[in-house]
């Protein structure tokens, strides 16, 4: 049976089975149910999108099927049942190991911490937790050497770290309930291909692999974030659902090979992590004509707050003060910061996101921490980027702050010039356009030509230093 025919099998009882089990058991149950019916169905495709003709042996596309994944989970579960650690810190580099650890810990009611690379220092906060790496081997412990988890009485915690986009990463406590709150178990999502470009240890990445495996789907992990590699992974592995940051999507639509891109069968694009502007939404829709584009507003602390599906930037002003689908309330403070109350009985949270009303919409102007302060005057980097991207010959732009002993900070920019253009001339034109359109303090004073703009580990645009 080929991958394609294994995918075509419909598992009509998958969702009833999952919904019948406790929430912390669902990931393991879903994987084992699919494994029992279609063992050879691909669960994870790693290093996807590598050019077949290329001589690079650094990355080799590999597939983990459901049977293999289920086998790893049940083996690890047996060891967890014997050892009963007080908690497990997943330190796996491979997505399949991370998923096996999460599924096994869930069904065995063992608390789990999933820490991204930059949050490893926080491990000290988790006393006596055991570290599990790609070997999936639990250390043998003398009896009574460590406290054991009270797995029957305490709901199993899940600890994840924030991305550290604005401030150092910190640990956030979740439960399987909050982790799975946004998962959609409907037939239309069964057995589909999901692109995983996010770091699998961060909130956004965890959401993608959870949703994919709970619906018997296939996770496609590209070998890199290089636009052509991503697009080859999309096309070759027939990805239907593409979750990504606006920064990543912008890179794909502006830099990837157009002919290659035209072979995509993407049906759904979910933008998150950053605000998307109008021109980007149009470009994405044009490059992915069959795809429905959804913008998700979520944070690691709150989870998903709302989704915007009308293809326009920001959200309708009419949403202010109303109860949104999912129960959240949003409000805008006088200084423009978006406030969110998830449920009636939870506290209102300041999101750090600044919005501005334009007609019947609220649009995102940037993170509070993104604001560049030049001699006391505020500059929103997103606005400057919009001006730069509008200059003929500018393919992509990133605006960030550099420290200055004279003005506190100074606006800096990276520009990707078009391949056929004269870089220096494009740079001059970009500066001239900014001087024409922006106030003096907002005009980038450091403008560098680059091949690609910098991104963070979370796939977002960094706003401080280079």
């Amino acid at each position: 049976m080929t991958i394609a025919s294994a995918d075509a099998v419909s598992l009509s009882h998958l969702f009833p089975t999952i919904l019948d089990t406790p929430v912390e058991d669902r990931l393991a149950t879903a994987i084992c149910t699919v494994a029992a019916e279609v063992p050879e169905r691909a669960a994870i495709v790693s290093s996807a999108g590598v050019n077949i003709g290329s001589s690079s042996t650094l990355y080799q596309r590999s597939t983990t099927d459901y049977a293999n994944l289920a086998h790893r989970i049940t083996q690890l579960e047996a060891r967890l049942a014997e050892t009963r650690p007080i908690g497990i810190v997943a330190r796996a580099k491979r997505v399949e190991s991370l998923i096996a650890i999460a599924a096994a810990c869930g069904r065995q009611h063992v608390p789990l911490a999933i820490l991204a690379e930059d949050a490893r220092d926080l491990i000290g906060e988790l006393h006596d937790w055991l570290i599990l790496d790609d070997s999936l081997i639990l250390p043998d412990l003398p009896a009574g050497s460590l406290p054991r988890s009270e797995f029957e009485t305490v709901p199993p915690r899940i600890v994840v770290a924030t991305s550290g986009t604005s401030g150092p990463p910190k640990l956030v406590d979740h439960s399987w309930d909050s982790l799975l709150a946004a998962a959609r178990l409907s037939e239309q999502w069964q057995g589909r291909g999901w692109l995983l470009v996010y770091d699998a240890t961060r909130w956004a990445g965890i959401q993608v692999w959870l949703q994919a495996l709970l619906t018997g789907g296939r996770i496609v992990v590209p070998a890199s974030r290089d636009p052509d590699t991503v697009v080859r992974a999309l096309v070759d592995d027939e990805v239907a659902i593409l979750p990504g940051t606006p920064t990543l999507l912008r890179r794909v639509v502006t830099s990837a090979d157009r002919e290659l891109l035209s072979g995509n069968v993407v049906e759904r694009i979910t933008l998150g992590g950053e605000a998307a502007d109008g021109p980007l939404l149009e470009q994405v829709q044009e490059a992915f004509p069959r795809a429905k584009v959804t913008q998700v507003y979520a944070t690691t602390e709150l989870g998903e707050v709302f989704r915007v599906t009308d293809g326009k930037p920001g959200f309708p002003a009419a949403w202010i003060g109303k109860s949104l689908p999912g129960g959240a309330h949003v409000r805008v403070r006088r200084d423009g910061e978006l406030l969110v109350q998830l449920h009636r009985d939870t506290a209102e949270v300041a999101t750090g996101d600044l919005v501005e009303q334009t007609g019947d919409r609220y649009e995102f102007v940037g993170r509070r921490s993104d604001v560049i302060v030049v001699g006391g005057a505020k500059v929103y980097p997103k606005r400057v980027e919009e001006v730069l991207r509008d200059v003929p010959g500018v393919v992509e732009a990133r605006v960030y702050a550099v420290p200055s002993p004279i003005t506190g900070e100074l606006v800096a920019a990276e520009i990707v010039p078009s391949a056929e253009g004269d870089g220096e001339r494009i740079r001059d034109a970009a500066i001239a356009r900014c001087r024409e359109k922006l106030e003096a303090h907002a005009v980038p004073r450091v403008v560098d030509l680059v091949e690609k703009t910098a991104t963070t580990a979370a796939g977002k645009t960094p706003r401080r230093s280079r």
Partner: protein
């Protein structure tokens, strides 16, 4: 070597003037940054960032000498600021 710093400062100012649509002009150590060439604080901040890159020293990172940092009014003030920074960098390397 003082002449190196002077030419680096001249080049930095020339590129600031060019970026802001003004034409470069010959500079002397006594040329006044504000009155003669019209550099404002943003222009000066840009000049400093360029010099930090080309000379690989940041005179503002080290603590100012007794009595505070001298005012930067002329091209020569800027040159001596960077010469001193280069000098103390060399001393601290030894």
């Amino acid at each position: 070597m003082p002449s190196d710093v002077f030419s680096a400062v001249s080049a930095a100012i020339a590129s600031v003037l060019r970026d802001t649509g003004r034409s470069p002009r010959p500079l002397e150590p006594s040329t006044l940054l504000a009155a003669d060439i019209g550099l404002d604080s943003l222009d000066l901040a840009q000049t400093v960032v360029i010099l930090e890159r080309t000379l690989s020293v940041d005179p503002f990172r080290t603590a100012p000498a007794e009595g505070g940092r001298p005012a930067i009014r002329t091209v020569g003030d800027l040159v001596s600021l960077y010469e001193q920074a280069e000098f103390s960098e060399r001393v601290s390397e030894k």
